[in-house]
Amino acid sequence: MISLLDKSSVRYLLRHPWQSMLTVLGIIIGVAVIVAIDIANTSSMKAFGISMDNVTGKATHSVSSSNGLIDDSLYFSLRAQYPDISFAPVIEKNVAVEEDSSRVKAMFLGLDPFSEGPFRNLFDVSGAVRGNEITALLQNPMSVLITKSLSDELGIKANDSLAFTSDGVKRKALVAAVTETENEKKGNIKEYLILTDIANAQKISGIYGKISAIDLIAESDSPALLQLEKSLPAGTEIVNAGMRGDATKSMTEAFELNLTAMSLLALIVGIFLIFNTISFSVIRRKKNYGLSRVIGVTGKQLFGTIIFESMLLAFTGSVIGIFAGIAAGREVVNLVTATLGDLYFATSVKAVSISSFTIIKGFSAGIFSALIAAAIPAYGVYKDTPAATLRRSSAENPVRNRPAKFAVISLLSSAAGAGILLLPESGIYLSYTGILFIIIAFSFTTPFVLKYLVGGVLKIIPDGRHFVIKSAVSSVRANMSRTVFAVAALAVAVSATIGVYTMIGSFRGTVVKWLEQTLQADVFISSPSLVARKNDPVMPESLLAQIEEIKGVNTLDFYSDLEVLQDGKIVHIIGASIDPSNYRRFSFTSGNPDEIWREYRDHKGVLVTETFAYKNSIGRGDSVTITGNSGPERMKVSGVYYDYSSDNGHIAADFALFRKLFGDVRISGIGVYLDKDADAEIVKSELNRLNSPVELLIRSNNELRNFSIDIFDRTFIVARSLQILSVLVAFIGIFSALMSLQLEKGREFAVMRSVGLTPGNLFYSVSVQTAFMGLAAGLLSVPLGNVLAYLLINVINKRSFGWSLQFEFSPEIILQALIVSVVSAVLAGIYPAYKMSRTNTAVLLREE
């Protein structure tokens, strides 16, 4: 019997291909979004892991210094002194390789192939005796190996010359051979490496006598290691391998979290969509189920069949969704990797990693949300008497007649949501649960809103006129059990797009305003950097004097920027020299600016950004540690200022104080303020003629501002694509729900036809009805969308980044939301209306 029922269920699905397809499509999108974002997250982390692996290998510790260079003599003496410890010298630089117009970020690695054995497997040492790429490297001290990915990307082959920029200086090398790394052989991983012998690396990068780090393998608490640690010269320190990697990775935590958060939002929308499509497909067939009960099918059997049918749809949708997610994931990986490279660190590895966990996650989301969605109405079918199941009014009654009950649920749910969101220390997942409650609360106001909206429309239209409109609109209220689901689903999907759009818009608006206030200099000088958001400290201080001599230059602001590893965390420290006339560029969260600046100038305190203060739970008057060349030093936090340049924030100290802490430092950026009557173009051309050992990037105020906004926009590409996807989900949701709804109403239409409505009237009626529902959903989504935006800005964003953003209401997205709702609703009506207008009414009426 079950199998017969199941068969009939499958046949039903096949007989209604449009409804089945749309249901499946809803699940596909839901699952695909989850999978794609997860792939992007895991892949970018895997790529990061591999690039860190290339640097640290199997090393347990590493000796390094704050300025990134140590004497190679230290390496030789450590080797001699500690024979039981394995050591390997490393020269490591992030570089940009330029070939024609393409620019690829790569890692330049200088290693001693013969010390590498215990550390990395990038060289074939035993082959060197016979002659291989190692021999080739020794033959020409300017030669390097490049990985296959790099060779493919740039079309550079063995014996070609290779131009790249490191530390702002253009360098040249010769490609001795192209090598394929173990990771590249595995496929799905691209490694952009320039590998060479340590002696060549010193010559090519002009750092004779210096290396970046000494890797070593030793047990953590072994006496030899402890002794070694004590014997290290000042300015050098020993760190656990992986610590730098972990610290670097933790910089991206907020970004990753936010991405996950976005995918959670997509997941909520996706689950909501799945839930609605499934429950709707059950509700609209209650009559069929009632008939089955009448002919003797038990409630238990029906329950099983309903679950089976939903599982069939969910399975199909989930499997296709996983594939679609993988396909989309590959694209999202590129976006995410590019963003990480723009904001945090130069990535030399690209990987696409599809883990079983990702697949399981996507699959479970699809199956379980469908299961729950089906179980609730299926339970109703199981519990009710056959007669009650047959009577649709029994489903309509509670919805239509008791909006108050729904209002109570809505209130309780919003109270729960608000309660969770108001918890001061709740994490991002909890915050999202709060948001979910708010969404539920809004959904439950739908019957209430619909009821009064219909009533309102009916009241506006004078008696005895526009019969078609009136009947169409009142039918929405009459069929509340179905229309409520459709309208609520649409409202949620549309509000998600409003929420994300408004959040990004507010963020952007805040950043643009901040840029206007902060970027005041007429010309900016930096050196081309690998990470767009950061300027590398490579310019010598001697440049400043040269610039000051240029006619038309009034004042200079300049800064140096260091990333210091302290207590397992990478701390960004800026040494800034700011002319008092430019103090107005900064706004503080609290305190008297004059007092703050006085302390700053007198080296009595430092400044921190709002994000830094948030991340480290400190405020004005507290203190921070800065680990300089002569060890850690506590500094008072004189002020906290608004800054949107990085989510990890930084500490800013007066340049003279900074130099005292870190010794010989280089300049990252210079802001040039011109005399009132100076010609910016002339000064720029003078600046271009500066005698600089490093490459200079000279940009006008406008250029830098646009560049900064560009980076901002790039950061939000993923969020924007998710927003577009939400629009698509909304569209499909509206389309599928309304189309099913109209297709179900064959008999109603037949009656209307038989009482004299023309096919044209019918078409009009259906369009009015769907447009009304679309409009209702659109209107509902406006407050929910803005509430979501508010929560994203002030709860989610604040908790993951610590930024204060100005909420900006975006009328254009509301207009767009309404248009999407109404247009998709009208479109959804076209096919059923067309079908109804062509159907023989007699056939439909003959049913009973």
Binding site: D72, S115, G127, G131, L138, A199, K203, Y208
Partner: protein
């Protein structure tokens, strides 16, 4: 129920599909090269060759000759503890010039030389053989021959040469410190017999063509004392060692496969060095030579016609490689005939170029009277 199972199976299949598509592991194959690959002329352009007889001078010739491609400091010996344990050891430092000329670079790491060490201990009492291989770049700072010209280091392994006060080398002292995990060897070697120049006053030909030769001298008898550390215990050991010094650029012909080389110390204080070079078929003898050193240190060159080396039995190693394990060796002119046997079955070094270097026992007759001895056999070219 049936359908639920089908769904579950489908789910499992989907998950498995993705799981196995995550990427297959590729195991890197280590480069294995044959002896003739490395020891034949190959690309010897730019390297100096052993073409003519040269004048040796000590201690200078103990030190590296970087313009030749290959060079080694080869120590083998038999050691005994006070309580009857017996060991054999090999400690060899190889120098390989990867390119003929030192690169033009003022980096402290600049070098054209690769140094490696092979260190083995054969514990004849416990029947354990241990070996290790280590590499280091020969820049003189990281390792190799140090700038002060006093010692060689290959990571934890060290050879120090303390020159004596005369040019014959008899008063030079050699100090070995070798480490392989918890196995350590620390020895002081003092020559008991003077330096032996093999072949034509130290020019040792390996084939009939010009330049396929090495400069070759040995200390055939060195009194040895020191410690061996194994299993956390330190044993005092004494014994006798043999040191071979050889440098060359190309030694083997293309049609030569490898060699069987023997160093034998007889009870009466005399020694024998014998080698035969096999053809590519691994059977035919392409070249053979030797030296006989009498107890007083006088050397007599042995020619191919005087030497008979016949394999009697073979053994298969754990690696699957087959090596001869027992020989009949005859030296016609000196009226000597011995049975030579390996003292341990498996003494193969599975290093970049696998070969056999192991202790041997010798018993037989010399000029009519029974005599016994010990030595080392080196068997190359059997693994590839």
């Amino acid at each position: 129920m049936k359908l639920l199972i089908i769904l579950l199976l489908l789910t499992a299949a989907t998950l498995l599909f993705f799981h196995f598509n995550e990427g297959t592991k590729i195991v890197a194959a280590a480069g294995n090269y044959s002896v003739s690959d490395i020891m034949s002329s190959g690309d010897s352009l730019g390297f100096e060759k052993a073409l003519t007889v040269r004048k040796f001078s000590f201690p200078d010739d103990h030190f590296p000759h970087d313009s030749f491609r290959t060079e080694w400091w080869y120590f083998t010996g038999h050691l005994n503890t006070g309580d009857g344990k017996s060991y054999g050891y090999q400690f060899t430092i190889f120098r390989t010039a990867l390119i003929p000329v030192k690169p033009e670079n003022t980096s402290d790491f600049t070098t054209s030389q690769l140094y490696s060490v092979h260190f083995t201990v054969s514990d004849f009492s416990e029947e354990i053989f241990r070996f290790s291989e280590d590499f280091v770049r020969g820049d003189g700072n990281t390792g190799g021959f140090n700038k002060k010209r006093t010692e060689f280091t290959v990571n934890r392994n060290r050879l120090r040469i303390l020159p004596g006060n005369d040019a014959t080398g008899i008063s030079d002292t050699f100090l070995i410190d070798a480490v392989n995990g918890d196995l350590k060897l620390s020895l002081r070697l003092i020559p008991a017999k003077k330096i032996v120049l093999h072949g034509d006053e130290g020019l040792s030909k390996k084939s009939y063509s010009e330049g396929n030769a090495s400069y070759y001298y040995s200390y055939t008898g060195m009194n040895t004392a020191g410690t061996i550390t194994t299993g956390g215990r330190v044993y005092e050991v004494t014994g006798r060692s043999w040191m071979d010094r050889e440098w060359s650029t190309s030694a083997l012909e293309k049609d030569q496969r490898g060699w069987d080389w023997f160093s034998i110390a007889l009870e009466d204080g005399s020694e024998l060095m014998l080698f035969k070079i096999r053809g590519q078929d691994n059977k035919s003898v392409s070249f053979s030579k030797g030296s006989y050193i009498d107890p007083a240190g006088n050397v007599k060159n042995l020619t191919a016609s005087e030497i008979v080396i016949t394999e009697i039995s073979h053994e298969e190693m754990k690696s699957g490689h087959r090596y001869p394990s027992e020989w009949e060796i005859g030296v016609k002119g000196e009226d000597m005939k011995f049975r030579v046997k390996t003292l341990l079955k498996d003494q193969e070094l599975l290093v970049s170029v696998p070969y056999y270097e192991g202790g041997i026992s010798v018993s037989g007759e010399k000029r009519g009277s029974k005599i016994a001895g010990k030595g080392y056999a080196e068997l190359t070219g059997y693994a590839n």
